[in-house]
């Protein structure tokens, strides 16, 4: 892919979203966001800790996380 084509793709991607992040920043933000989000959901929904389980008990059931 030529340099011009890459630039075009990057611009298209940036414009399509309407968020003024560069492609690189977008990927960093995206994966950081996915990582932190997965960590939080894991902690509240699935983690191996009786304290976390008890605190989140009703939430685990009502979100349909496998529980008990």
């Amino acid at each position: 892919m030529s340099h011009a084509a890459i630039t075009e793709v990057v611009m298209a991607v940036t414009n399509a979203s309407g968020v003024s992040l560069s492609l690189n920043d977008r990927m960093i933000a995206g994966f950081l966001s996915l990582f932190i989000g997965a960590f939080l959901v894991f902690g509240a929904g699935l983690a191996n800790s009786s304290v976390l389980h008890d605190t989140a008990h009703d939430v685990r059931h009502s979100f349909g996380f496998p529980c008990h």
Binding site: V19, L34, A44, L52, D58, F65
Partner: protein, 262 residues
């Protein structure tokens, strides 16, 4: 800028989590509390009342692992911890809600954390696929999130009340995670790609966990009335649908309002 994007996602998640707490207290928690009164009662004619296995063999994950300590650290929930709330009422000292909070506070905090988590996952997927939630597509994002995290996995593992019979917890959590990830990938392929092969592959990914089959309990007997279970399954799926629609719409609104101009 990255921080602002993450904060927007967390903010949307906190709003959806607060909303979810209200919906849960109205529709779901009363059913859980009612089921727990049956859960501790012995099943007529059965010496072991609880539907979950009292003791189970370690699965293949635990044995023969190259990294036993890593495996145990990453293990989801051990049988000893399973069913803590019933044990807690029966006088076990282990566990308990953190910081000595009330049950409602614990639920609120867990909803906020879960909401922020799903909000970040939604934003992350939006960023990685270059299709962030907006006012226009926020509800679609929410609906797809609900399908992949709740509805499709529920086809194999319906939302269950305390005291319901269920297969091995670790196996169910692994299956649930796989079903969720594969459903999200499948729906993503169907929604974001135009090619016919992508849509076919997406359908295949949706079907895969169900062809494999969710772990099922050996014995279906339960002390909890079936009507409660039916009401609970509907209430859980309805409240989570509302949660995801709010999450998608609020994420889209925040993105449109604050991130466009930044």
């Amino acid at each position: 800028m990255i921080v602002k994007t993450l904060l927007a996602a967390i903010c949307a998640g906190l709003i959806a989590g607060s909303f979810m707490t209200a919906a849960q207290e109205l529709r779901v928690v009363p059913l859980i509390l009612e089921a727990e009164t049956y859960e501790t009662a012995p099943l007529p004619g059965a010496p072991e009342a609880e539907g979950y296995p009292a003791a189970h063999e370690h699965s293949s994950r635990a044995g023969g692992s190259l990294f036993p300590s890593l495996a145990s650290a990453l293990q989801l929930v051990t049988p000893a911890y399973a069913h803590e709330s019933a044990g807690q009422e029966a006088g076990h000292a282990d566990g308990g809600i953190m910081f000595g909070l009330s049950r409602f506070s614990g639920t609120l905090i867990a909803n906020l954390v879960t909401g922020a988590g799903f909000g970040l996952l939604l934003a992350g997927l939006g960023l990685v696929t270059s299709t962030p939630p907006t006012m226009r597509n926020g509800l679609v994002w929410g609906a797809l999130g609900w399908l992949s995290v709740h509805m499709l996995p529920a086809l194999g593992l319906p939302p269950e009340l305390p005291g319901f019979p269920a297969g091995d917890l670790g196996d169910r959590q692994i299956w649930w995670l796989m079903a969720t990830v594969l459903s999200a990938l499948g729906l993503g392929l169907i929604a974001l790609r135009k090619e016919i092969w992508a849509k076919a592959a997406g359908l295949g990914l949706l079907a895969l966990p169900h062809l494999y089959g969710a772990p099922q309990p050996g014995d279906l007997a339960s002390p909890v009335p079936a009507v409660l279970g039916a009401e609970f399954a509907v209430a859980a799926l309805a409240t989570t649908l509302a949660f995801w629609l709010v999450l998608g719409a609020v994420s889209g609104a925040i993105n449109d309002r604050f991130l466009n101009t930044a």
